[in-house]
Amino acid sequence: MNAKHGAGYWLFHRGKDGSRAGRLLTHLFLILACIVAIYPILRVMSVSLRPGDRLLSTSLAIIPADATMGNYKEAFDRGFLLWIWNSLVITLSTATIGVLLASASAYAFARWEFKGKNGGLVFLFATQMIPAAMLMIPLYIIAVRMGLIGTWKGLVIAYSVSSIPFSIWMLKGYYDTIPIELEEAALIDGTSRIGAFYRIILPLSTPSLAICFLFNFMTAWNDYLLARIILQKPGMWTWPLGLQSFIMNFRTEWGAYSAGAIMVSIPVMILFFISSKWLISGMTLGSVKG
């Protein structure tokens, strides 16, 4: 760090010509932040490697002396692979449907003027503020009336819809940044409006679509409340229900639970890794066309 500037300089300086010491400090700080970010998860890993359900230990060692893979085996024996598979199938299909539905609606909101448009947008925005747990009972009643209890249909439909408001806001914000002249040129060439949307807008919106997909995926992947009331049979469980079955009335099988927890984090990590190149450019959080 350059002594005459102080800490503020170090942080706010853009670092193109940063000194070696400054760069070193940057790396040190980032490494520290990374440790803070992953340490709690390493502790979960540590529990998953301990034999017996020893959640508690005074040792801070990540890999215990008596490490074993027994908990992972236990998780697999209880049906872990099936739960993960169920979750993956449901989540991937809902994320796809959700993004498709939202991308079309967002286009209507971005390119047309109609009565109630602002009202609609505000409504969509306001739905984000409803405490989710409150909707469970009426949702259950609908699911019963439509015969969706104990089926994946109910979950696929519910998850697809639940992410739509957020996706519409995000995609509309992104579409708004795409110059309208691009479509106008295509319309002059004789393409239909839908054709222009499909050929010009969608490809240009890849980053934002990817982010929507990621958000939809995460919402469905992590859901416990809805899955709990809609699915019953163990063979159909998604992973949150499966892991919940390790938590008993008073006692919890922490070993197997932690092993499962480590493993369910992997698909999300992969997805984050794949989408990382869009993650930064695609995050345009909504706008009100003013």
């Binding site: 259950y140 009336r145 969706l148 019953q232 009335n249 008073f250």
Partner: protein, 406 residues
Amino acid sequence: MKRLIAMFIVVLLAFALVAGCAKKVAPPEDVVIEMWTQENEKEALPYLQALAAAYTAAHPNVTFEIVSKETEVLREDFQTSSLAGNAPDLLWTVSDHAGPFVVAQLIQPVDSLINMNDYVESVVMDNKTWAVPIAAGNHLTFLYNKKFVAEAPADSDAMIALAKQLQADKKVTYGLVFNQLEPFWLVPFLGGFNGKVFAADGVTPTLNTPEMIAALQFFYDLKFTHKIVPVEADYSAADTLFKEGKAAMLINGDWSFSDYATVLGADLGIARIPMIKSTGKYPAPYTAGKYYMIAADVTGAKLEACADFIKFATNYENQIQLVTQYKRLPGLKAALADPVIANDPILKGSAEQMSVGTPQPNVLEMRAVWDAMKPEMNKVWGGKMKPADAAVAMQAAAEAGIAAQK
């Protein structure tokens, strides 16, 4: 005109959608019983699955769909599904669920279906019996590791002295451990000091009493005066310490026996929680149990099948199997009298403890009382509150909680 046609098509479409989604009805001669249980794979779920399979083998037209849910989840989900008219038919659950279910009219009386004289005391409200006992118990008991404790201490003073001695000799880290988080562990000691949670009417909480203060003071002394319990111990901590031989004595429920028997083998001792020296009375844990309950709107052939299955599942042979396999005390009188219980040291200790227990109230008010006791008791454990103040706060919180339920 055009708009009219448009409307017509939309309405038609809506009808088509609704019709397409309508539920298909199963043929009448086959009965599918949907059953929820709060047992899980590590508990008696395999036993229940085997019972169902055996019943189906004998009655091929009756099949079962068994779903396992955590206790609280089962209660919430049963309420929700009843509201939507989609409740399961049969439940295997804990007795304290009967309170809310009866109040909300979600289960039906069983007197006319099953001869209740064959069973131990069951859930009776409004002069009707609402559940069939599967296993009695669910009570807290005193467990000790024979490596450190030759014989269960005679009274609370002896227990404290022994714990101090063991700690002084560095044989164990803690003399006594138990789940300090839950008021379920406070209730036995309240009883040991002659206190009760409810007044004689069964619904008015009596938490601000000298007896409650004495019980809380006992807890406070265990930790701060005698220093024989950990600073903080939830269920897992107590469990881990006892299993690892770092604690000599444990207070835990009958559901945990088979687990400890596996880990400690012959070193496991089970007895009554030691008598409170100053009152000469044994601590009185809540006793409850697991019960079959039938949903309110089950009728006809399905109801008959449910009742018949319950009779089969609680017959002598099946009850004895539950006793030997899971170390639980049976709900059928004939099985309870069987010598297999007197001959098993674990079951004998459990039965002795149960004989001084108090049946856990099934009333809805119990919920408010649990919630009222928990934080205040924990403040005493944390040294943040005097027992006398905690008792006052508990009473006020319980009364407010009960008022809120109505």
